[in-house]
């Protein structure tokens, strides 16, 4: 059933490509603004880059989550599964996985221009970088899907998603920036694996919480 839901999201996105495209272009535009605004001090940008990267990822995630959940809202498509004999927690997990896939996909697309525009050297382990991206994005979308689920039927959803998501995800912003910064400074992983642990526990705690309460959220 989980795969059934994920395939549905993938199929719709494969056909329209609107979620990934909009996230990618939006990410690219913010990167451009950052590059222009921080051009004054090319050396400083190295210190700021990890933070900037996660700001871009947070902003694009909000955009992606909003689109991903509006798939369910348009024409009340969600009624197909809210009235079906389906465990709604499973739907939450499927949304987390779809969101993770979409956001990671857009990250892969805009990270190359991010490094080129900001003149960042890419001399670090790509495997470790991928691990940070995976856990950080997972943490963001786990709480993000929960909040988007809330705003699925609430008013003011465009405003409420970032207003609730940004403060809740502040530990993710700190931990992911710390990881990425240490990686860019080529510090050994043993010095910063504490931050990976924070990201991982955030992912797991909010993933489980979302699974438990999603049923009560989607009821009308």
């Amino acid at each position: 059933m989980l795969i059934h839901f994920i395939l549905k999201d993938l199929k719709i996105e494969w056909r329209s490509k609107e979620i990934i495209t909009s996230m990618f272009i939006f990410g690219l535009s913010i990167t451009l603004i950052f590059a222009l605004a921080f051009q004054v001090a090319p050396m400083l940008i190295r210190t700021f880059a990890p933070g900037l990267l996660w700001v871009v990822i947070l902003f694009t995630s909000v955009l992606g989550l909003n689109r991903l959940f509006s798939l369910e809202r348009e024409e009340h498509a969600m009624w197909s599964w809210t009235s079906a004999p389906v465990d709604r927690g499973t739907v939450y997990i499927s949304k987390v996985i779809s969101a993770l896939l979409f956001v990671l996909m857009s990250e892969i697309l805009f990270i190359v221009p991010f490094f080129i525009f900001l003149n960042l050297p890419a001399n670090f382990s790509f495997f470790q970088f991928a691990l940070i991206l995976f856990l950080g994005t997972g943490a963001i979308v786990s709480v993000g899907c929960l909040i988007s689920g809330i705003t699925l039927q609430a008013g003011l959803r465009d405003v409420l998603i970032p207003i609730l998501l940004f403060p809740s995800a502040s530990p993710v912003a700190i931990a992911a920036t710390k990881c990425t910064g240490s990686l860019f400074d080529q510090k050994p992983m043993t010095e910063w694996n504490f931050w990976l642990l924070i990201l991982g526990s955030f992912f797991v705690i909010f993933g489980m919480f979302g699974y438990l309460v999603f049923n009560r959220i989607v009821e009308e």
Partner: protein, 181 residues
């Protein structure tokens, strides 16, 4: 209500017809009181209590970004039905030509037929139909009436909400009038 009954539900706007159907179907949580189907209470926390009934809302409940065929496959998957007859049902509701058309390009009448097709495929014991006539042309209404006759012969329980009380009077066993309080 007895099983196999065909009941019309009417009443003024805002009297809670749709709310009632949504509560029976489990989409909406229940504040007070209980809804009992056979031996079981309807409980939104228990997915299995929703197995034998199907809610056909007046809003669509279909994914605009999928084709008609894909929507039917998705919905039948939700009910654990691996039904190979989707193409036949599409022919029956005369949507075979729109098989691969995205639902967002469907007209109102085509959407209603597609919704009818979901109900035929799922083949539930209890059907909750909310304004099924809206947007149907004369052919569509005839088609719908014939499907209702079929369902009635299969002893399915139906609750039909409609504004059209003449139609309800000729096509249902009895009518329940909801009053605004």
């Amino acid at each position: 209500m007895e099983s196999g009954e065909k009941i019309g539900l009417s009443g003024p706007n805002g009297s809670g017809k749709t709310t009632l159907l949504k509560m029976i179907s489990g989409i909406m949580s229940i504040d007070s009181g209980k809804i009992r189907i056979g031996e079981n209470d309807v409980n939104p926390d228990e997915p299995d209590t929703r197995k034998n009934l199907y809610y056909l809302g007046h809003s669509v409940g279909l994914y605009p970004g999928l084709t008609g065929y894909e929507n039917l496959t998705f919905i039948s998957g939700l009910y654990g039905k691996m039904n190979p007859n989707i193409s036949n049902v599409l022919i029956k509701v005369r949507l075979d030509s729109a098989h691969d058309k995205l639902v967002k390009f469907y007209s109102q009448g085509m959407l209603q037929r597609l919704k009818l097709a979901t109900a035929i495929i799922l083949d539930p014991d209890i059907l909750l139909l909310d304004e099924p006539l809206t947007g149907l042309d004369v052919d569509g209404i005839k088609l719908f009436e014939s499907v209702i006759v079929e369902w009635n012969e299969l002893r399915k329980t139906m609750i039909i909400v409609s504004h059209n009380s003449d139609w309800l009077r000729t096509n249902t066993d009895r009518i329940i009038e909801l009053k605004q309080c």
